[in-house]
């Protein structure tokens, strides 16, 4: 409880720091002044740079908010998925959602579809992610039930197919499309507008709320499928609801930000190390932890190199990987294994 509160505070603090930093230099006092003026309080200095106010409200703030949303979605989805699969290796890509979304996005890039304007790529990516997940789930189902192993194997098979489809699209596309595909797959929050935030926010809000409401049943599921069933949990229904929730969350995040790896895998593990396996706290901790990681990573992505924007997926994996490795070694040394 204390940990979750602390995380929430950290998200707020880092969010404010991130909102106050960027390539267009606006001192923190002016950022605060700009916000206060916007909410009707005539206090504090306004940005002195002629484009300062516009840059804050049209470029930086929507991006920070999007980082919070996408991070929360990935963290929460990861925690739920690991619980449903009863497997610490589960991450959103296992059920095909990232791969399906990537196929959708690549198709839009290569065939230059524009039927929904700038929303074409995210919309098709969202549909692709969702459809692929439902395909994985549907194919794994037999006689009204699914088995975790079948689900994982089916996910691997579907991921191989999506990988092949992406390769085909890379082949078909021209040089410019290929570059776009490569960068889309590395993930970026560059170019986030309020329109995008308005689409993602409700999806993430509903998804995160659904994750929270599943938490108690996920705890029971941790006792084993049979015990959970005896305690009155409809395991099959729980699994289906959880997968749909995860698919919606991840598809919403991936649709606008591209593939951002590692957050969904590592953040729940970190949270579990800190507060143990009880999902009542693990789920909110993962949601907040994901948001925190992504806001911080995005801050680096957009400020590290002048005039440039780094791919955020590269940053999360580059920093997250070695850190996770170190944690694993430490956990092995102290508790003698991975629980």
């Amino acid at each position: 409880m204390l940990f979750v509160g602390g995380l929430a505070a950290a998200v707020v603090v880092v969010g404010i720091i991130a909102a106050g930093m960027g390539q267009l230099r606006v001192p923190p006092s002016e950022v605060l002044g700009s916000v206060l003026h916007r909410i009707g309080l005539d206090v504090g200095p306004e940005p002195s740079h002629p484009r300062g106010d516009a840059a804050l409200w049209n470029v930086r703030f929507p991006r920070v908010v999007m980082a919070v949303l996408v991070g929360a979605a990935l963290g929460g989805a990861g925690a739920v998925l690991q619980a449903v699969f009863g497997n610490p290796l589960a991450e959103p890509s296992v059920i095909g959602v990232s791969g399906g979304a990537a196929v959708g996005a690549c198709a839009v890039i290569v065939f230059q579809w524009t039927f929904l304007g700038t929303f074409t790529t995210p919309a098709v990516a969202f549909v692709g992610g969702l459809a692929t997940t439902l395909l994985v789930y549907g194919m794994s189902r037999s006689g009204g039930r699914t088995e975790v192993v079948t689900l994982v194997l089916m996910g691997i098979a579907v991921n191989a197919v999506t990988g092949a489809l992406i390769a085909l699209l890379v082949f078909v596309g021209d040089t410019q499309a290929r570059e776009q595909i490569v960068f889309w797959q590395l993930g970026s929050l560059n170019g986030t507008r309020w329109e995008a935030v308005r689409v993602v926010a409700p999806l993430v809000a509903v998804g995160v709320a659904a994750c929270m409401s599943l938490a108690r049943r996920l705890d029971l599921l941790a006792l084993g499928e049979r015990s959970a069933r005896h305690l009155g949990v409809d395991v099959e229904r729980l699994r289906m609801v959880a997968i749909v929730v995860v698919a919606v969350l991840v598809a919403a995040g991936v649709a606008f930000a591209g593939v951002i790896g590692f957050v969904g895998l590592v953040v729940p593990h970190l949270a579990r190390m800190a507060i143990g396996p009880a999902h009542r706290w693990l789920v909110p901790a993962s949601v907040l932890g994901g948001a925190l990681v992504l806001v911080a990573a995005d801050l680096v992505a957009r400020t590290a190199v002048d005039y440039a924007d780094l791919p955020i997926g590269m940053l999360t994996a580059l920093v997250g990987g070695p850190f996770f490795f170190w944690l694993l070694r430490r956990a092995r040394a102290t508790s003698g294994g991975w629980a």
Binding site: G22, R51, Y307, A308
Partner: protein
């Protein structure tokens, strides 16, 4: 029994076809001899118009994306595209000193000291651009992401999206469009006329170098390569390379095999097509390890071009950039292909 015979027949036909396209240059003395690689370099950047035009603003226009844009000030201009053509056009219009930043491809020496706002050619950062406080941004779809251009528009900067397709026949119109957006329509007309006349002059100069007999003309292919992985792309119809090969008086091999846009081709296909000369981007040639590395790429050494080491390369941003520098680009390429007009031969020192 039938199948193996058919297969053998196919192989034989294939071999015959390959022989039919065998090397023709190098042996024919009257043909344009091409030996060794050459680099085409232009130092002739278009001179700015004199006197410097004064923008008549505001102007309202409908841009390439169909958006109504009003430009009311042009003291601080950004002109960004993947080839640097837009910035070169602004420079040639005489408004180069109003540019406050540039894309990485802009080669005009007077603009070299401006901050570069595109590091890898297509990933713009909205905050960094807003920090330069531009009055107007001229750009096209070759650079992006489009969302950043829209963010700039949201922030009150007029963003004029122009046609990004480069080619000989749109040079004049694209100059006029840039001029219109900056309120210097008359200057645009003047520059477009000057460049059009220069293009015709350059083309007639080049035409004098081209062998009269069509069978002596070089079979050219524009080869796009990145790294030694053996992946090559041909640039065909509509890529801009087609206009270039036509102006150079070459036989467009990609045209013969109906390649449109950029298409990958494998090693055997390259051998079969038997080009006499490769046109390449300098960075592309460098990425395979220069001419020696190129010859190690499967298929290349088996073409007449490979056997004669006949490669003409030019700076990535220039070779397909068109715009006001196109006449100079064409002359430089022609000199690299056919030798200097005084007969001294191109820069074949590479």
């Amino acid at each position: 029994m039938r199948t193996p015979i058919a297969a053998i027949a196919l192989v034989v036909v294939g071999l015959l076809a390959a022989c039919g396209h065998g090397p023709t240059t190098g042996t024919a003395a009257e043909g344009p001899a091409c030996e060794g690689p050459a680099t085409a370099a232009t130092q002739d950047w278009p001179a700015p118009l004199v006197p410097t035009p004064e923008p008549l603003l505001p102007v309202s226009l409908t841009d390439f994306s169909g958006t109504e844009v009003t430009v009311s000030k042009a003291e601080r201009i950004l002109a960004l595209d993947v080839y640097g053509t837009l910035a070169t056009t602004v420079h040639a219009l005489g408004l180069g000193d109003r540019l406050v930043g540039r894309d990485v491809s802009t080669g005009v020496p007077e603009l070299a000291s401006l901050p570069v706002v595109t590091h890898n050619g297509h990933e713009l950062n909205a905050e960094a651009i807003l920090a330069l406080d531009p009055d107007v941004v001229l750009t096209d779809y070759s650079i992006g992401p489009l969302e950043v251009q829209l963010q700039l528009r949201d922030s009150g900067v007029p963003v004029v999206i122009l046609d990004g397709n480069r080619g000989r026949d749109v040079v004049g119109d694209q100059i006029r469009e840039v001029a219109e957006a900056l309120g210097v329509e008359a200057a645009g007309e003047e520059l477009a006329d000057r460049v059009a006349a220069d293009i015709e002059e350059a083309e007639s100069e080049v035409a004098r170098l081209v062998p009269r007999d069509p069978s002596d003309r070089l079979r050219m292919v524009f080869l796009y390569m990145r790294g030694q992985a053996g992946v090559f792309y041909w640039f065909g119809e509509g890529s801009g390379a087609d206009d270039l090969i036509e102006a150079l008086g070459g036989v467009d091999v990609a045209d013969e095999v109906d390649v449109a846009g950029a298409r990958p081709i494998n090693a055997e296909g390259l051998v079969l097509a038997a080009p006499d000369m490769f046109l390449m981007m300098s960075d592309g040639l460098e990425s395979v390890g220069g001419i020696d590395g190129l010859l190690e790429v499967p298929g290349v050494a088996e073409t007449p071009a490979g056997a004669d080491r006949c490669v003409v390369d030019m700076d990535d941003s220039q070779i397909l950039g068109y715009g006001p520098q196109y006449p100079a680009t064409l002359r430089a390429l022609a000199h690299a292909v056919y030798g200097e007009p005084d007969g001294s031969g191109g820069d074949r020192s590479r």
